[in-house]
Structures are given as C-alpha cells and as structure tokens.
Amino acid sequence: MAISAEREGGTVIARADGRIDGSNASEFQADLQGVIEDSDKALILDFESVSYISSAGLRVLLLTAKTLEGNGAKLALCSLSEPIREVFRISGFDNIIPIHDSQAEASAAVSG
C-alpha cells in the first residue's frame, strides 16, 4: 500500500494502491492525514490500483470522512474495481461516501 497525492486548488487527489487491511490500516490513516490540510475543501481518493480493502480500511475511510466533515470538506472515491465496488455496496458504505466512475466525474461533483 502506498499513497501519492497532488493538489488542484482546494482539492487533493490521492491515489492508493495494493491491499488495505488490518496490517497497514494505521499507516493508511497516517498517510491520509498527512496529505490533507485544514484549508482543503475536498479529498478525492483514486482507488483504481487498490486490489483489496478490509473492514479495517473502511474504518479509516469513515474516520477520514468525519475529520473532513468537521472541517466542512468532502470525501469522494473514484475508479473502483468491481470487487472493491462490491465491498462498498455490501457494507453500505456507498451510503456515506460518494463513489464516482472517474477522477473527472469526482472532481466535478466535489466542486459543484
């Protein structure tokens, strides 16, 4: 699991890859906290290269969403593979975190 990020205006676009599970969830959380600044308006997580996410990973997303919400900022996901999309559907997390097909769509949604 590794994260790379770039900033466009007040929107951070971060890419995660590999497996996100109990063994690296706290690292994932620290990485996400590291890329977000208080002034940011949105975080878009590109999950195109994520192969697996466990409930420990979902918990990090939940905490991140809450942190962002506290700052009046948004979290969105994009480019999920079908198995990952299924995890969000079964867990119901697609009820609380908006999921988009592409980065462009996610960017449009968070800035709209």
Binding site: S23, S55, A56, R59, R89, I90, G92, F93
Partner: protein
C-alpha cells in the same frame, strides 16, 4: 543523554586522574563519574543509586575484590554491565572476570583513550539491550491484551443451539491468531421463533472486543423486545451504537428471524454479506441485499428487511468474510463460489454437518496460508 559510570578502585590517585582525563566527556555531559573504593562500597552505591549505568572496577581491593563484586552485581542491578581493569597479561583473572559476566577489560597502566573507547562500546551495548527489553515488554503487553480480547470473544458465543421439531441450528467459529472480531448468536424468541445473528467488528484487540460485547448485548435486548422484525432491530441497535462515534468502529451484522410455523425467514443486513440458501439437491443461491449499512456508522438510518420461505430440506448459511475472503497460498480468494461448489457436490444433510463442512472447506482451501481473519459459519436447516 548522560551516562553515570561507577569507578571502583582502592587507589586514591585514580579519582582525580579520571576526572582530569575524561574532562571533555564530562563537560559535554556524556559521562558522569561516581567513585567507590572497594566492592562493598560499590554494591552499596549501586543499591542506593539505580541511575548508575555501568561499572569500571579494579580487581585487587580490600574488603571485597573486583571478581567477587562481579558475582554480586546481578543480585543488585541485573542490567548493569562492568569493565574490569587488570594487570597487564594477567590472563587468569581476566578469564575469571569474563566468566563472571564482565563485558570487557582494560589493562594497567590505563590507556585513557582505550578506556574511553571501551566505555563507549559498553554503553552502546547497554542501549541495545535496553531497547530489546522494552520491545519485549511491549510484546508481552500486546500479547496480554490479545489474550483478554480472545477470551471475551469466546465467552459470548453460544454453546447450545436451539432446535425445534422441524429445524436445527448450528454455529462455529475459527478465531484468527491475531484476534478478529466475529461473533454469532442464536436467540429464542416469542412464539417459538428463533433469531440468528452473525457479525464482524471492524477492528481487533480489546477496544474491538468491548465493542463486540456491547453490540451483542444491544442486539439481544432489541431482538427480544421488538416484534416488528429484523429491520427495526438493526435500526435500533445502529442508533444505540452510533451515539458514541468517536472511535470510528463499526460492526457488519446480518440478523434474521425464523418462524418454524411457516418456514419463513425474514432478514436484514447491516452491511453484511447476504444469506446463502442451499437446497436439498445441492443447488444454491444468494439472497438479495437489503440496502443496509454497517452498524455504528450512520445514526438514524432506517434498515429494511426481506423475507423468503425455506422449503423442507433447505439450509440457510450465514458466514463472515473469513469464508469469502479465505486466501490460499497462491493469493487466490475462495469467494462464496467455493461454498456453493462444495454443496453442489455434497448437499447438506443437517445444520451441524453443513456448518462444519463449510469450515472444513475454508481450512482446506487456505492450506498453509496464514489466517488473518476469523472464520464464522452459522446455519439453519428446515427438516
């Protein structure tokens, strides 16, 4: 950091000499010296001052010599390391000193550069030793915590399974070595109905085990108190679990009520995998999701429920992701298809056999691959 070094020698000239030759290290705050004139005094000082890091000792001294002192040091300060100062070429005493646990030695007349080098090397060793000790202590603490969590998890699992004239239930769990967060419950309800719950808490360790305990207690309370069905039960449990949402912990849960009078099973999913129904001929299908969300995430969410009728000979299987995400040595996921294949070739004959067969299938699939998650199966078969 300043290291405190106890120098033990009956020679009165040594003290000013050490202070003079080591003045740079003292001024820089790296060394601090204290002095004793024989072994007895040295032991008294070690006992009185636990901040002493190491000892530099002469061998021949009145009252108690250096070799006896070496023997006694572990009784007073087990983590102290000692350097012995011996006469040049006195191999017999040097060997005795090393056998008694001296870390190193220097010879007389003392070459202070060599002494400083030897002291530094000893201090470096002490640092590594302390680090190893602290790592070990942390591991012990962690292991204790995991043991507590594991006991809590085991203690809430039912050991007897309700049966009726026309149905049987069964549940089994294979805990992961690093303590996961699965649990299941089978609850007797009014009118001979039976409630079945399977759940997976999002984290591991003691906080997760506590969350598991309260999830299970809240579920049981709601299940017994509410007649409206599984959707209303999950709505209530979710609201209670969402009240304190600072930890970000959540639990996925599938809760179902079976009515033996009609064979109807009503279920609601809180972010959990859907039930699998296996027919007497071995064919099987997953039931639809009910559009829920993991419990503890979003207070106020209204959970809906679905129903279907179990035919005689049908078995309904609940499971956690320890089953579907079982991974073999090649990194391949088994998926629910692994369970469906199993039952296609060997249809279930009763609830216990079906549950054990699922479990055996998972364990056979994973083989020697490490088990990261609890594996839990809960079954009900209509006879």
């Amino acid at each position: 950091m300043t290291y405190k070094i106890l120098v033990v020698d009956d020679e009165p000239d040594l003290e000013p000499l050490v202070l003079q030759r080591m003045r740079r290290q003292i001024r820089r705050g790296r060394y601090e010296f204290v002095f004793a004139h024989n072994g007895i005094e040295a032991l008294e000082q070690l006992q009185a001052d636990p901040s002493i890091d190491m000892v530099v000792s002469d061998i021949n001294m009145p009252r108690m010599d250096g070799l006896t002192l070496l023997e006694q040091i572990p009784n007073v300060s087990p983590d102290i390391r000692a350097i012995i100062v011996s006469a040049y070429g006195d191999m017999e005493n040097i060997r005795t000193a090393m056998n008694r646990g001296a870390f190193d030695f220097v010879t007389k007349p003392v070459d202070f550069d060599d002494l400083q080098f030897t002291i530094d090397r000893t201090l470096e060793h002490i640092e590594q030793w302390r680090e190893a000790l602290s790592t070990r202590d942390k591991l012990v603490a962690l292991q204790n915590e995991l043991d507590v969590a594991s006991k809590m998890q085991q203690s809430i699992l039912p050991t007897a399974f309700p049966t009726g004239p026309s149905y049987k239930t069964f549940g089994t769990m294979q805990p992961a070595r690093n303590v996961g967060g699965d649990f299941f419950d089978v609850i007797r309800l009014e009118d001979d109905k039976v409630g079945l719950a399977i759940a997976d808490v999002s984290d591991k360790g003691v906080p997760a085990a506590l969350f598991m305990m309260s999830s299970r207690t809240l579920l049981k309370g709601s299940a017994i108190g509410m007649v409206e069905g599984p959707g209303a039960v999950l709505t209530e449990v979710n609201n209670l679990l969402s009240e304190d949402d600072t930890t970000g912990m959540f639990v996925t849960m599938l809760y179902a009520v079976y009515d033996p009078a009609t064979g109807v099973l009503t279920y609601a999913s809180g972010g959990h995998d859907p039930p699998l129904v296996v027919h007497a001929d071995g064919t099987s299908e997953l039931q639809p999701l009910t559009g829920g969300i993991a419990l503890g995430v979003l207070g106020g969410f209204e959970f809906s429920q679905e129903s279907f009728e179990l035919q005689p000979g049908d078995t309904v299987c609940f499971y956690t992701d320890g089953v579907t995400e079982a991974t073999n040595e090649q990194g391949v996921l088994m998926g629910i298809e692994g369970v469906q294949d199993l039952f296609a070739s060997a249809p279930p004959v009763d609830a216990e056999q079906a549950g054990m067969a699922m479990m055996d299938r998972v364990l056979a699939f994973t083989g020697e691959a490490p088990q990261f998650d609890d594996i839990t199966c809960l079954t009900l078969r209509r006879d």
